[in-house]
Amino acid sequence: MKLTLKIWRQKNAQDKGAMVDYQIDGIEPDMSFLEMLDVFNQDLMSKGGEPVAFDHDCREGICGMCSLYINGEAHGPDRGVTTCQLHMRMFKDGDTITIEPFRAAAFPVIKDLVVNRSAFDRIQHAGGFISVNTSGNTIDANAIPIKKEDADNAFDAAACIGCGACVATCKNSSAMLFVAAKVSQYALLPQGRLEATDRVLNMVAQMDTEGFGNCTNTGACEVECPKGISLENIARMNREYLSASLKG
């Protein structure tokens, strides 16, 4: 396959950055998108260029490190996958592919396609936990029976990989789906109920401080989420937040 790549190049956080056009040949449909970029980078380096920086690690869709806005969609045109699981067979010979970093004020670019998603960590610091110390003396795991349905729903919310596709794809750069996933996971479990009020208030306050936009319920995040985190979680967080506000 022969492709034209339009890639965002930016030397560092201070640099202004611009889209740059490249040509690449010899791409096989079996390659993953990131392997295509590997080949492209090797080619670029052999010509004396500086490789395109992009985040990636596990390359099996679970670590959440890879990002990329490909042809106008977070993680590209396929559904239910991260960029590392996107394969070149989704594209045709002669295609032009536009590759940009995840864009949000809260996700500043570090270099090229690499962005800083520490805002997500800081939201988790504000309340993404259950306050239980490690002791070896907590009650037996089976002492708290949990309805299978609740456990399954909590798992569905907990499946979030923190990649930031929801923010990147949201026209408002809202982080509601990400925050709602964690709030929901704990809200659904008896272990998490004790701190539910503080948790939702603190996490939302931190989310707002980080400069994410407001959710307008377009639903784009749910569609682009590689783990299919449901919008129901956002509704649940809204409920949690309202009842917490009334209590607090």
Partner: protein, 666 residues
Amino acid sequence: MALDSKIPNGPIADKWTNYKDHINLVNPANKRNLDVIIVGTGLAGGSAAATLAELGYNVKAFCFQDSPRRAHSIAAQGGINAAKNYQGDGDSTFRLFYDTVKGGDYRAREANVHRLAEVSTNIIDQCVAQGVPLAREYGGLLDNRSFGGALVSRTFYARGQTGQQLLLGAYSAMNRQIGRGKIKMYNRHEMLDLVIVNGKARGIIARNLITGEIERHSAHAVVIASGGYGNVFFLSTNAMGSNATAAWKIHKKGAFFANPCYTQIHPTCIPVSGDHQSKLTLMSESLRNDGRIWVPAKLEDAQAIREGKKKPTDLTEAERDYYLERRYPAFGNLVPRDVASRAAKERCDAGYGVNKTGEAVYLDFAAAIQRYGKEQVLIHHLDANDKELIIKLGTEVVSNKYGNLFQMYYKIVDEDPYKTPMMIYPAVHYTMGGTWVDYNLQTTIPGCFSIGESNFSDHGANRLGASALMQGLADGYFVLPYTIGDYLSPDIKMGPISTDTPEFAAAEKNVKDQIERFMNTNGTHSVDYFHRKLGKIMWDKVGMARNEKGLNEAIAEIAALREEFYKDVKIPGVANGFNQELEKATRVADFLELGELFAKDALHRNESCGGHFREEYQTPEGEAQRDDENFAYVAAWEYTGKPSDAVLHKEPLVFDNVKLVQRNYK
């Protein structure tokens, strides 16, 4: 220097309790005067960081990823073992201990493994208290599944994402402490050297991967939790960034490296599709419960399939060789990982491989679909002669069990595994070897600890499924917090450690010199070029089956490649900024040394055991031949300037509680 494993006296079941009763403790007011550095934030590092911070220590945690949540523990699929005996099927601490020692082919340290089995139950309690959504039954209680190498159901799981959920649990515990200021988190930082002051580990030199700045960090103790070294093979199921640098740097500063040749090759991975391949994807071991593994019986059929002239479904039963069922009638497709992997390699080496690279075998679900389909037809009183209906119903059953894996396979290979057999091939998955540690998880450098996959201690020569998560969390939550306190108790009045000392300056200079050298080499090849070459040497000569000749060649080739690397590597960009090529170079430089020691260790171990198979040492039937008389020891290597000059130290393994027998799966 004689190795002292510091195993407490007394009966094995009492050792850990007695140990805890008699160690020195640090009082809570003094803990806040003590700093601990933890490198790596996976299950072991993350759980240790959170627990030490809860206890009151000042923790500085480092990870090269952009968040602790991305550590590669997250990719573990299957589950975590614990001797809870919730199923009432006869499990116990002793059984878990016994299975783990046996599964490790009798090359693990008994006392450590028993302690692991003892704390396993606490891990499940702790994780549930943290809100980890482990799988449950309709009655609301926790569900279990069974895994290879065990006769009981003791594996807890969270769908196919157990590692993810456990890691996010540890991450949440860390977040609580980061929020309280008890953990200072250094994301996108890579440890590049250890600083030793007066014989004790007192700090590290780290590179800020965003700014390129070389930083000095001091602490009263340093904990390495940086995972395994599987990426020495270039292609593995490890993450792209997984590396051995932290472990190797402490090795070069005096920590012995134990059993590097013990590597687990997982039999069910998606095969390499071409030269562009960057990593391999694991398909859960659970697939072997229903899939039948085969290759064509005739060479010409294999060739026709490779050339695309025939399809696997064209071959009749008689034209297929179900080689595991043929060779191991008793265990069949469910032989342990090491046995299954070697058998696949044997067939492919003989020319029976089925993909275009010739390195793949089939994992076929057609029989399972038929079997389940017929069962469903009977259960629902439907037409037993309707072949299409049987396939439809059977497919549904298989889909319910393995749907997500089949989907993953489809996305990667673009073939429907419900209709045509999957192709699989073994891939490097886990490293049992690692830094040598004593019972306290302390390396041979005082004050430098090693936990999780980065140490060698619990899995012997082969790790059982669902034991890696158990070990990581056991070390971090329940072992290290005790043992490190014992070590730190004399240091309570020491006060903060200055980084403005000649030792820090020397270590920093060392790091800066290496980086400068890379930046100035200006050669012709990228880092990946060398890494791929190293991987090929390792895979061909130090892979699933090894022999003396190949290992000697590998040692020479790796040494030569290392020399070429330093002369001819090309690093574009700048050192004082974000530079992924430079990051790779520092990691590959260490793999190029580790790989040589790996081969040297494999060469010296004149036996076959677990993940280490020497072609010279096999039974007439081609099975691994252990030599307990001469090799029942831990090989701990001391660095003396080059990998080839490493000095061997032996820690004899004493088995008082299990009887050594030859594993037999026929």
